[in-house]
Amino acid sequence: MMEMETAAGLWLAVIVSGLYHGLNPGMGWPLAVSAALMERKPSALYRALGALSGGHLLAMLIVLVPFAAMSALVRWQVEIQVGAALILLALGLYLAITKRHPRFLARVKPHQLGLWSFLVALAHGAALMLVPIYLGLCAIDELDAGHAAASTLMQNAGLLFVVAIAHTLAMLVSGGALAVGVYRWFGLRAIHQTWINTEAIWAWSLVGVGAFTLVWALVGH
């Protein structure tokens, strides 16, 4: 029963983090509006959303794959979780303290939306945020004792895709809704009006997720 609730909570986290990423202008929805306005056709908006989602999904997969591979090593579960937590804490604190923006993103051209989205999700730790959630789901799976290592690996790989896709779909829904809303109804001023500086919140939410993961891994769940 406890596992059921924990699992539901973790799946909720997958979806909510996706919605959160979608709403953040830094993850790209204004680019979809801009694309449709520049090309003077609504289809450009959907194409841009597709490219942005593709880039985001790829970033999730790239970050999660090593953890999926390692998570088969059931014996090292705690160490792996601690490792993920420390990486999250480090990136969160770095972003919170330095407030620096990675300059290489400015080299990406406006039409390279997929690449842009991929790099942004990596650089800002969006993909990393999913790691503890994913590891949590893996751990619950393994509580159904008796899995052979190979089947655990297969299962975790499957889980990896489901988590990444569910998260990206949630992001597409919230970001897409905002983009379509601004493009069709609210107008460009909404870009100015809805844009709130979430940089500090973002950095500290990485720290928060990292700290929670650390405690969870060390104290047990």
Partner: protein, 466 residues
């Protein structure tokens, strides 16, 4: 860092046009004989104010001999770029380079009436970190603040070509050179871009020995000043095309792209055609295949004059050239203002059809020969030079000095700084405002103007008009 985007950032030019009118202007003051410190004048341009048309605050710098020329903001509407995702800079600092000293001042104008120097970048740092000298045009862009320079390294600025370097938009540290592949570009003046379409256009004046001690007539008559414009892949930092306007089109200066980023054209002004003394405006545009083209769309003929009325430099020609030294485009991309500094005229062209501009309005004031007085009876001294348009396009401000040593060649003697304003009619037309005349301190000259909250030559927009 703000929690909300600065209210003076606008997604599209149309949004900026609907913003409240400016109440203050910032105007550069320079000491033409370098005997005193240059400064920034804060001018009251609010017609309802008791101090309308007066300098209400001045920031004087601690050094002499900087020669202020152009300047710009640390942040503008470009911060709303969907690519950067970081819209929380403040439009707060003016970046003011000394074109002669290569020193750069960062002035904090958050409280305009208490404006003060925030940081000084010493010339040695500019030389060391960029290999460039004589910083000039400022724009806020994708990676920080872009600064164009007119000189390369070495004492006279001819050791290597001039170019653009980047400043960090928060710390104002010099980041380094912009160019990865400059192609054949070997001179520099102005530059501007279209951010969503990812291109930049740059122009050419001349190398420092060709301007610092005055215009060099032999160089001009042998067409040795700049006459090309360069097109760049903005984010790849590569020169992708160079268009030669023709060697006789000497000094291609101000680059004014259409403000609406969905449009793919712009303008460049040419000071003088050495074949016939005409001033000229070229329209440049991006073609279907992504390459660029340019065509001369406006010519301004020289006006015959008595040799006795002309300065030494022009006596042999028996005519006064327009000397197109600044142009500026209104935010609706409709009116192009052209300063004819030699003839003492400000032209307003309707460029709704950019290939067929139509003269819509004209003001005569100053001029080498005509010396037209302001409606208030005062002498304008020189000719209309740096021009700036209000965001709503209803008011046009300009000053009268070009560049210390050039002023003295074309308008010998010290004739005083001026800043005036003209009102724009509903459908074009230009009339000088009789009640607007800024008095500057004795011995100073006036150059570029910036308007509080942005104007028509600072902000780059990332979203088209809808």
């Amino acid at each position: 860092m703000n929690v909300r985007p600065d209210p003076s950032f606008y997604p599209s030019p149309k949004d900026a046009m609907n913003a409240p009118p400016e109440k203050l202007a910032f105007t550069l003051m320079l000491s033409p004989d370098f005997s005193r410190e240059d400064g920034l004048a804060i001018v009251d341009v609010d017609p309802d104010s008791d101090t309308y048309g007066q300098i209400v605050h001045k920031v004087m710098v601690p050094y002499k001999g900087d020669e202020f020329h152009h300047f710009g903001w640390n942040a503008c509407s470009a911060s709303l770029s969907p690519m950067s995702g970081h819209a929380f800079l403040e439009r707060r600092y003016l970046i003011i380079p000394g074109i002669r000293s290569s020193r750069i001042y960062i002035m904090d104008v958050k409280e305009p009436l208490k404006a003060k120097i925030h940081k000084i970048i010493e010339p040695e740092e500019v030389f060391e970190k960029t290999g460039y000298s004589r910083p000039h045009t400022i724009h806020c862009g994708p990676e920080g603040i872009y600064v164009s320079t007119l000189g390369g390294g070495g004492e006279d600025g001819t050791d290597g070509p001039p170019g653009i370097f980047l400043l960090d938009c928060e710390t104002f540290d010099i980041i380094g050179r912009y160019e990865i592949d400059r192609g054949t570009q070997d001179k520099h003046y102005d530059y501007w871009w279209n951010l969503p379409q990812n291109y930049m256009v740059s122009s050419e004046w001349g190398l420092p020995p060709q301007f610092e001690n005055g215009v060099v007539p032999e160089d001009l008559l042998s067409n040795k000043y700049g006459h090309r414009i360069h097109f760049w892949d903005l984010r790849s930092r590569k020169n992708v095309q160079t268009i030669d306007l023709g060697a006789n089109h000497q000094m291609a200066l101000e680059i004014r792209p259409a403000h609406d980023p969905a449009k793919s054209h712009g303008f460049v002004g040419v000071v003088v055609d050495t074949e016939n003394l005409e001033g000229a405006i070229f329209t440049w545009w991006k073609k279907e295949d992504g390459t660029f083209d340019a065509k001369k769309v406006i010519t301004i003929p020289p006006q015959p004059a008595d040799a006795d009325d002309l300065p030494e430099l022009l006596k042999g020609f028996g005519a006064v050239p327009a000397l197109v030294t600044d142009i500026d485009l209104s935010l609706d991309d409709r009116f192009l203002y052209v300063a004819c500094w030699g003839q003492g005229e400000m032209h307003q062209y309707d460029v709704s059809d950019p290939m067929n501009p139509v003269l819509a309005g004209k003001v005569e004031i100053g001029g080498i020969v005509k010396k037209t007085k302001h409606p208030n009876g005062k002498d304008f001294g020189y000719g209309p030079q740096m021009v700036e348009i209000s965001r709503d396009g209803k008011r046009v401000y300009w000053t009268n000095s070009l560049y210390s040593t050039w002023d003295d060649q074309f308008y010998p003697g010290d004739r005083g700084a001026a800043m005036v304003m003209a009102n724009v009619g509903e459908d074009g037309g230009l009339t000088l405002a009789e009640d607007f005349w800024v008095e500057f301190p004795e011995g100073y000259r006036s150059h570029q103007i910036r308007l509080e909250g942005g104007d028509c030559s600072t902000d780059s927009f990332c979203y088209p008009n809808v």
